[in-house]
Assembly symmetry: D3
Homo-oligomer: 250 residues x 6
């Protein structure tokens, strides 16, 4: 089944778009067409602080609703905080939306009994841990371990980053008894394969996981089963007139 | 101790500002000066949907940071979803910020062993329940009961609203064994006193609760103890240069 | 990607194999080849009691390990108790294994904020609820509601079964505020589509859900990412010599 | 609003009363009048053991009920175990009652996302942890760390105590990721300010916290809102005739 | 093994002592000698309110410590609140102490997957539920249902009480899916057998349960294994000199 | 009361039967007659892997049901995984069944506020921890610490095993604040007494604990109270005709 998937780098620069596109091309389903976009310049360059998430809320959600109307099959919010994922599910009517932590945790909870998340900075842990519990995966959480490398420097010296990752993953395996590793930032791109093979345990990449999960969500909607976000309760949408009033319906 | 408190109606109309101001005047500490504001026209008129919260994120947080720099002592985000309260704590350096659910739940958990929340619509329950658990008050939650009256009609026929409230509160007391009642919307204004006296149990108003809690948070900061939002971990702020870059520092 | 998936009806009769096969054919990925098998005659005809699960443990696990060695890509244990799913993951080295409750709960927790399970008899609820919590989905559980129709009679009078389902689903939606419905038995086959369309909420079928989840688990293993059951900790296998000693390796 | 607050040192000696009085004078609201009392000689000199709490139960509760009848506005039970706080709420009809852990945890859960408690001895941890969970704050608990200095020696060598505190707080911040520190004993008096300023995080003193919380509870009762302990359910009082029979009503 | 067990009716009247003695005689182990005592006149006649528990704290604990020194093998605190059970374990060095809820919940959690407690008044539910969770049995709790008959009237009209019990038990079985029933008051004496036989499910009596559990605790101490309350951590006793100072050691 | 108790070593060798028999003889009640049996040769020699549990399921449960029909009073499943304990309760009608973890955790939760389990290998921890939570004892779990000695070598060098145990117990006491120790394997036989005396805390042996708990469960069934596994809900048995069809009824 053909499907067109929009990967949004929810930041105000397009420096990573090409790399992400080429990376995802290697792992996509043959029927999947991938588009990678970022947000308009002038918005935050990374989301390490909660206030930066707030700054991108409105433009990102407008872009997501537009994609829903344009006929995209799926959308990935490319940040491990899964910013405004619930809201995106609320406003869409056809397009599925997913994000790295949602996708990665569902995978990890299926292929192991516990996981550790390798985050970029301790600052991100309270919000991320909260999300683990909110989504029901607290019982699987072995630990969160921080690289203490800011997002914007993760790719500056890949060897240094990889060594720090290896060290933190080893601690997670030995001290915290993790069985699966989640890389807790989309900018930790390009490392999982080598570490996975070297260490002999699954290492989940934050870009590929939501791609595959998005394809899965398309497949349960399109295979004849018709399973899609429930529109009663949490994800009930405003009616069309209201959406139109906010420029979210044409 | 003199303190200036900003109550923000986080909606794009000022229809309630005067009523809220006069209401709060009756319950404020004599040393408290109250300012009630709403957001610029053009923004959503109510926040029943999560996407409307997203639309007000950026302008509201900019207003809050500005108030912090202007020397306000406290700010109240006047919506029972406590929208972006954590983010507001992250960006402020002097001003305390609180909101109805935070304030109301701390009060209810002190003066009773369980509480029920009277919400406006079932739609709001999943997000509100999530917040109850996130903040640690799940062990006190007797129930959430819905008026099934949209926010914009709550004040249209006050007798009808009051009767529905009475019915839902009675069910919460008798069937759910609630000991304290929280009114789960700031627009449920003007009803608590009569119901509280009639039913003989505490009914917490969503406007007054954060006012008193804001005064309390000022008092622990200003009495000599100096207790204020911890600036390590969850509420660590971006540094001044970054805030300035986003127009949040002058 | 071609994939061969074995669906095991873990009971000692093959009365449903053909029906299940034809049912799944309608929902499979074009690249999926489906084989449906049941266990040897003489084993229990249904698993409503825990002791019947115990009786099928050894023959079913031997069949699963044999399938792993035969090169099957995935195996589905076709019973909503997910009997011995963890054990199956422990002994396999290439083949993914999944089952209805695992698959259904991951789907439901993604497309809604709460779910109810429509089970066949109250007797099954304690074991099923335990499993919901064990797998981390307790926070999503709105209720379990029982048809009180024994498994062996579910297809005897389909209209009666469908009517009972409709009644129980309505109660789950209205009284328990469920957003998604899980059908809690593979023999509740053939009903989901009509009920889903009529009631306007997702109804997850216990046969199709694990089929699609199995395809997904194949895709994350085979797309280049190589994600497969972690072989440290819970799912560590006995070594080959030991497996061979038990006739589980050739 | 004038308010008279009784601080009870729930021990059988008055050695600390003057120090506590002078300490609290520095932090009280200008309208607050403070009275510090201890229990009659002959009762335990500290409450490190649960049996000592039992010994003070009856005389302390009689004193509290008497204060309620005398017209005190608030009462503080000056021990971090919050001994018999629930019972005190049960028997009072006008006076608010609070205690260090209740007050401190409400504050800490508002100004940070996690807290550690610096206790005097490991012996106290099981009972204190139980209380943290009972009151709903388990989700905030980073750790409990023990000074291993008996209560009666805390003030013998203040420099030693302060150094030990500093060491334990540093561990809590660095190893347990605490964002706020609670001093877990009223006899840890006089240290918070210096440590708070040196370490740059909020350190909550066990004497001042309940003073400010008591003032807050008075303010929500007296501001016109009339919010006071719910008298249905957990805190329902025996009727007056019964209280009189026990000498708890005149 | 001979063992002498003291059953304390923790109230200030001996009206029930003879009845309890004769009741327990029918269920004791042949080697068990039973003594039933109550507390001195002048103390509360029942413990429905938390403040009455506080009034009996000191005399009851002195009696318990005395019994420990007198060589009693076990002591039962005969009230379903298990008042001061933890404290009693703290001060004893040879005698085991148990109480109805502890004993009953351990039994119920072994012979069933869920239980309901039939309490005397709604007022007791918050404290009792708190205890269920504190002791770890929350996962087994189906419901608490109240007879709404005050303790002092439970035996006034046994037929009425029995009928109310039958009604509440039936609701617990049918609506709450309880598998075992706990009678939540020692004064609900004399009813369990008939209801158990009539309804076909285990009904646990609050007097007999702690008797059998006390015998069990004696057996694990005296059979050679030597298992007795751990004296590190929660149940560490004050040293002998301190106990002597409080008249709790001779 | 005479009682005949069957202790099943659920493995396919009888090497330990005599040792276990003589060991238990020292701790049994004088009225208890003990029979120790193992399963037929050809079955797994230990249960370190979940698949070995599955292999013994059918023969062990048939043996247990046979013992129920033969008039045994109690049966002990002699493995700390408590394999198929729930299922055994489901099929029996007179005989009580218990197992080491169930028995040991009920004891530990009564005589202490927290426990650590000394397991043989890290591999066993996920399944064992899951069971701790399933049974409600998660709130008591201080830690699981592994000897990293395979079951089959535990008795090869008893001094080495004892030294490793001492080291792990010390860590549990000092670092994890455990108050009681559970030995997490029946083959850790013969060590508890010396360690208990040396370290001054209760060390619960996995063979003796279920013996004493089995005696207790007999006593509550046979003393006149008639308390036995509830036969509604989780432990409801198939009817006799069905059991007969499976050779589990004569």
């Amino acid at each position: 089944m053909k499907k067109r998937i929009l990967f949004i780098n929810p930041v105000g620069h397009d420096e990573c778009d090409k790399e992400v596109f080429e990376y995802l091309q290697q792992y996509r389903d043959p029927d999947t067409e991938i588009v990678v976009e970022s947000l308009p310049a002038g918005l935050p360059k990374m989301l390490e602080y909660s206030c930066y998430e707030a700054l991108i809320a409105e433009p990102m959600l407008r872009r997501i609703k537009k994609a829903d109307l344009e006929g995209y099959d799926a959308c990935i919010i490319g940040c491990y905080f899964d910013p405004f994922l619930d809201t995106a599910k609320e406003i869409c009517h056809h397009m599925v939306v997913t994000a790295p932590a949602e996708a990665g945790m569902h995978i990890a909870a299926t292929i192991g009994d516990s996981f550790s998340v390798i985050v970029v900075r301790n600052k991100t842990i309270p919000e991320m841990r909260e999300y683990v519990y909110k989504r029901g995966f607290g019982r699987y959480l072995a630990s969160m371990r921080s690289l203490e490398i800011p997002v914007r420097e993760l790719q500056a010296d890949p060897e240094k980053t990889k060594n720090r990752m290896r060290e933190k993953i080893r601690q997670a395996l030995e001290e915290d008894m993790a069985e699966v590793i989640l890389l807790g930032c989309t900018v930790e791109i390009g490392f999982f394969k080598e570490l996975q093979e070297e260490l002999g345990i699954p290492v989940i990449d934050a870009n590929i996981a939501p791609l595959k999960y998005a394809e899965f969500l398309c497949s349960i909607r399109d295979c004849g089963a018709g399973w899609y976000t429930s529109k009663i309760g949490k994800y009930e949408s405003p009616d069309d007139a209201e959406l139109r009033a906010w420029g979210m319906r044409d």
